[in-house]
Symmetry: C3
Subunit: 111 residues, 3 copies
């Protein structure tokens, strides 16, 4: 069943796996928020290495990096829905990078 | 050796890791189809968490989610080649999301 | 603290996990180069399956594939910075695919 199609936004939130919010991983708190806000779907990818916005400032050696791996949360939904939940995301992350790009969605089905 | 360059399509297929087609994982069946159709390349990424099009409708708790992790298949090729194999992809997935976006390809080399 | 915003480039470099440069994994050498060139961040994702530019030409069976998994390095920075380091990347990879796309960056913060 096609439920949505046409132009949507792919939002990607990059943060650290060990980032915490109220005692739980920030990426998990974000997934729960996105689901409760009826955002149509989200996927969490974990990197095997990296540095940058998702790393703490003192992370300058490879060893430390391996203990704070980057995590990317990918969300696809309408521009309106993405904009609606953006303030909650910005509030949840304290270091991180958010990118947005337009994507063409050609199939969305539930079994 | 540069083999292709210029504007191409990045197609991303999001489905569940445990989705099956004829007894084998759907993502594996898709990779085999893409290869046999001479699509230039594909990468399968597995998420560590997620929900949405790739989850079964009854997947409402975290435990169940961990048993049906999201999988993203990424394919980069020409618009013509992507459109050619799209019907086979739509036939293979019974729940999932496909996104398309234009990307600039600047290097493609075989060793 | 917002450090950059507006339109940037998402560059994705696809190569093989087992590709080597001077005895070390190419993806690791690239991360070190990107960091030393003050590129703002990079994330390395490892695929669970795939074929294509990142596979060696003789990789035609699934078994072999599992020994040379695809790796994707994602880099977000300004067009100027990406263009500046591109020659070093092209020199480092001997088989691989680079894609570029415009993304809107809406938050970049250090803790």
């Amino acid at each position: 069943m096609k439920e949505m199609s046409g132009e949507h936004i792919l939002m990607r939130i990059m943060l650290g796996e060990s980032d915490k919010q109220d005692g739980k991983p920030t990426y998990q708190a974000l997934i729960e928020m996105l689901r409760s806000e009826k955002i149509s779907g989200a996927t969490v990818l974990r990197g095997i290495a990296g540095y940058g916005a998702h790393s703490h400032p003192h992370t300058t050696n490879i060893l430390r990096l391996s203990q704070d791996l980057p995590v990317i949360i990918e969300v696809v939904d309408s521009k309106e829905n993405i904009e609606r939940i953006l303030p909650q995301i910005e509030q949840a992350i304290h270091g991180g990078l958010i990118t947005m790009e337009k994507v063409q969605v050609i199939k969305y089905s539930d079994i």
